[in-house]
Amino acid sequence: MSDSTPLTSLADARHLLRRTGFGATIDAAQKLLDDAGTRGAAADILLDFDPTKFKPGGKYIEDRHNKWLKYMIKTKRQLQEKLVLFWHDHFATSYDKVADVDQMSLQNRLFRQFCKGNFKSFVKAINKDPAMMEFLDTVRNHKEQPNENYARELQELFTLGVKDPLGNPNYDQEDIVQIARAFSGWDYDDKGVANLHDGDHDKGDAEEGWNPPRGPKVIYKNRGGFNDPSGQSFDAGTNYAAEIDNVINIIFQHRYGAPGSERSTVADYCAHKLITFFAHPDPSPTFVQQVVDASNFASTWELSPLLKKIFVHDDFYLSAAPPGMDTKKSVKWPIDYVVGTLRMLEMKLKGKYQYVDGGEGTSAMDHLTNMGQVVFFPPSVFGWDWETSWLSSSTLLARYAFARDVTGARNGSGKTSFRADKLIPLDLPTAGTIVDAVTALLGVDDQISSTERDALIAYLTDGAGGSSTPVDLTDEALRNRKLNGLVATVLQSPIYQLH
């Protein structure tokens, strides 16, 4: 893998854009190719943005959902929004429990702020995020009975994982109990600023006289590569508010592996998860370790260089290939499916409720609900279930219905309508050239087999023709039926569900 590896194929450029954003047109891919030349340069272009301060507004959470969706569709900062979506799944927080629209928007903006920034600072900020403090009960963490919820998920889900890559547990119950003490007494004010109520904070055995004593404020006595059975202390004396930062500092020093070949647990865990999101499930340990080492992530904690190393790696480009026994592909998230499709068809959703202007005028939010992903409502702190968990009879039918609605939006003239005539040259002469243009439009031309191509041609010619059969797209009635139908068919095809 190398920054200087040339980026020469349109397929690779489209793959890069598809994975680092939500669907890209052929023109956008060509432009990237022209501007970049190498994988490194392309990654630099994509990573070159200052995160915006966008915060979705609106009276109800549905309005804020729609504002965010609209932003995803139209922003040029596609990688920014893709990262925000990743962090929303990683630090999963649901409005179901938080029940405060402002806190959800504040958290959304926090994800944007740190999306490619310093991961350690990010986690320290999440400690104090009001929505997170509600969701994982930090605000209900009192010195008499420290609430362990955040202390557990902070380690299990956000930073370390239950076990390291070699299968050894990263923490134990005692670590959870001790970390919970650090967070006791934390709350936030009505401006969303976190603060510590001393009176509710476990100040330690001496001060509080706990019976039984809770011991010194230390963690990782028996693990984490510290090799100190007395544990790592996060005690900050009377500067109680510093304890939670100290906890993060210690977690980020956690290491795994045999002596002499130890690695940073947090770095490998975080890199692994980013790879599974951007590239494919089940990356090799080599892939993970190479990107961590080449970017110096375990020292700097800077996400942008880490992301760049992922985007230039050979393994990242492996999943650009058509699906075969050994290819690694991912299933498109419902957000990928909806936002990506609209962007590739250069369409917008309509009105305050962001509905598709075809079919029964179903809102995007309803379509996404049926597909199993409503942002601001992850099913649990574990986030959404990825890959084939996205797909079942009902969620596939939901995708098919969306495809039908989008290509059925034929009654208007603006951007909320499906304008096949603007996307495909109408002078394409034959079934074969038309099918090729449509599959290229939707980014699957390099993915489908000749059997599938033949099936699409059969559809286009009503079963009567072949690749060289003439088809007249200037015939509006034919176009309305067959070209729209062809696009819908590709959107409903198996390969289009993957990337």
Binding site: D96, K97, F135, L136, D137, R140, H142, Q145, N147, N149, E153, P323, G324, M325, T327, K329, V331, G359, N370, P379, S380, V381, F382, D385, E387, T388, S389, L391, S392, S393, S394, L396, L397, Y400, A401, A403, R404, D405, T407, G408, S449, T451, E452, A455, L456, A458, Y459, G463, A477, N480, R481, K482, N484, G485, A488, T489, S493, P494, I495, L498
Partner: protein
């Protein structure tokens, strides 16, 4: 005034109990094979009464028993002769006495439930009193969600039946369950297998685009079908595991969009079909949404029981709305609000079981149709009951209420204790207290005991670790005390 869970700050609640609702258990292939098909040739239907059905006027005290319950009842619910009174003057008493074992109070049904009373007399209705859960919520959304996920104190993303479906080993290309409605019912929520959703079979189908200008244009659906089948067949034969999976699931889905709608004709055309009775306006009472929803379920059950190709659903969910009777709740009169709801549901259920019996008569010994009406179990729940004292002419949100389990294969009767409605026994909101002990004069029924009894006795799950994992005790989350569900009773006795 609603008490939100958020106000209970002493809990160490978990945002999720993923560790407890153990997916790891379900990935054991040996266990899953053993779990598969535990429902056998039976069916399970869940009916949700949306809005919070007033339990006190559904199962009504007829006399005082040892605690003077009827006297208390009359104190709280005014005589209908006075303006707005919602007292049930003449509860329908079944021939098989329905007596609250705790207090000896004789009970009767709301007059609108004549059909249910008749079924009770046939031993086909189990009334389970005091159904609720600890730290009960008076918020529709919150409480409904709690009942559906079967977890009052944690927030798994799965429904209680969904966890069973996943544990039983159903896969993405299977369709073990159907929701009659607009989206997958929360009880069935999971990511392992498919739940079909439709309102009416006749309208269910593949989302074909039919809106293009069809002045004599040929029907495109045949060609759509052909290309879809070709693409998905190619995928099913593909190498990549995801493509293979999509191929299989998509093919099953497309099949469902043809095999399911066919069930409509098969049902309507069967000799002796009771189809018309569901939409009968004379006598009035049927031709309701509940009747027509149940009829869709009857169509699917008939299909499964007659071996229709590619139809295997045995779990169903549907709902009836309108139970949030803050005002104009009414009383014994046929025109009244709650009366109408009860009549709708009671009559529809009775017709449905008559329909099943009629189908069973078609079946030879040993066939899937045989004794069909004894193979279908129907559970009825609502997200809460209502406040004991009435307001002007209705009731506000309350705590625990009766659940019903109905069918031919069960042990009918009355289970659990009637909640204590004496003034001294109510909480500061005027609701009956939920307690798992008898310190308040009556022991509540945790709804999880009802779910668990169904899972154990109707779905034949006897492996204890599996049962523990589907419905973990409150003690596993660190809760203890008289309100909490600390000991499961999955042998409540209404199912053999």
């Amino acid at each position: 005034m609603a008490i939100t869970r958020r106000q209970f700050i002493t809990r160490t609640g978990l945002a999720t109990a993923g560790a407890f609702f153990g997916p790891s258990l379900f990935r054991n292939p040996l266990l899953r094979r053993a779990m598969a098909e535990t429902i056998g040739d039976r069916y399970l239907i869940v009916l949700f009464l949306d809005g919070g059905n007033d339990g006190l006027n559904t199962i009504v005290p007829v006399n005082g028993g040892s605690v003077g319950m009827r006297t208390d009842y009359e104190k709280w619910r005014h005589d209908p002769a006075t303006s707005g009174g919602i007292r049930i003057v003449s509860p329908l008493v079944p021939s098989l006495p329905m007596t609250d074992t705790n207090t000896g109070t004789q009970l009767g049904f709301h007059p609108g439930l004549a059909s249910l009373r008749d079924m009770y007399d046939q031993g086909r209705v189990a009334v389970i009193q005091g159904g609720g859960y600890p730290e009960y919520s008076l918020s529709h959304d919150e409480s409904r969600s709690i009942w559906r996920r079967g977890a009052p104190l944690s927030t798994p993303s799965t429904g209680w039946l969904g966890r069973y479906l996943a544990a039983a080993g159903y896969l993405g290309g299977d369709i073990p369950a159907v929701t009659i409605g607009g989206s997958v019912a929360g009880e069935l929520s999971q990511t392992a297998t498919s739940v079909l959703v439709f309102e009416r079979l006749r309208d269910f189908g593949f989302p074909y685009d039919l809106d293009f200008d069809s002045d004599g244009d040929p029907d495109d659906t045949t060609f759509k079908n052909d290309v879809f089948n070709a693409l998905y067949a190619a995928a099913s034969a593909g190498d990549h595991p995801f493509i293979k999976y999509i191929g299989g699931t998509g093919t099953a889905t497309l099949l469902a969009t043809t095999s399911y709608p066919e069930l409509h004709d098969a049902y309507v055309n069967r000799s002796g079909s009771l189809n018309d009775l569901y939409q009968n306006d004379d006598p009035p009472g049927l031709n309701t949404s509940t009747a027509r929803n149940l009829r869709e379920i009857a169509k699917v059950i008939y299909g499964v029981a007659t071996g229709a190709a590619n139809v295997n659903a045995r779990f169903f969910e549907f709902s009836n709305g309108g139970y949030d009777t803050h005002s104009d709740q009414g009383t014994d009169n046929a025109d009244d609000q709650q009366y109408g709801l009860h009549k709708e549901v009671g009559d529809a259920i009775k017709l449905f079981y008559d329909d099943l019996a009629s189908m069973a008569a078609e079946g030879s010994a040993g066939s899937l149709l045989e004794n069909l009406d004894s193979k279908v179990c129907l559970m009825v729940w609502s997200e809460f009951s209502r406040r004991i004292e009435q307001n002007d002419n209705g009731t506000d949100h309350g705590s625990q209420g009766p659940m019903f389990v109905i069918g031919g294969g069960l042990t009918g009767g009355i289970f659990g204790d009637h909640p204590n409605i004496a003034e001294s026994a109510l909480d500061e909101d005027g609701n009956t207290k939920y307690k798992q002990d008898t310190s308040n004069g009556a022991r509540s029924t945790d709804f999880r005991d009802v779910y668990g009894t169904i899972i154990k006795h109707w779905l034949n799950v006897t492996d204890q670790p599996t049962l523990d994992s589907l419905l973990p005790l409150d003690t596993t989350l660190g809760f203890s005390g008289p309100d909490y569900w600390t000991a499961a009773n999955f042998d409540m006795g209404f199912l053999p």
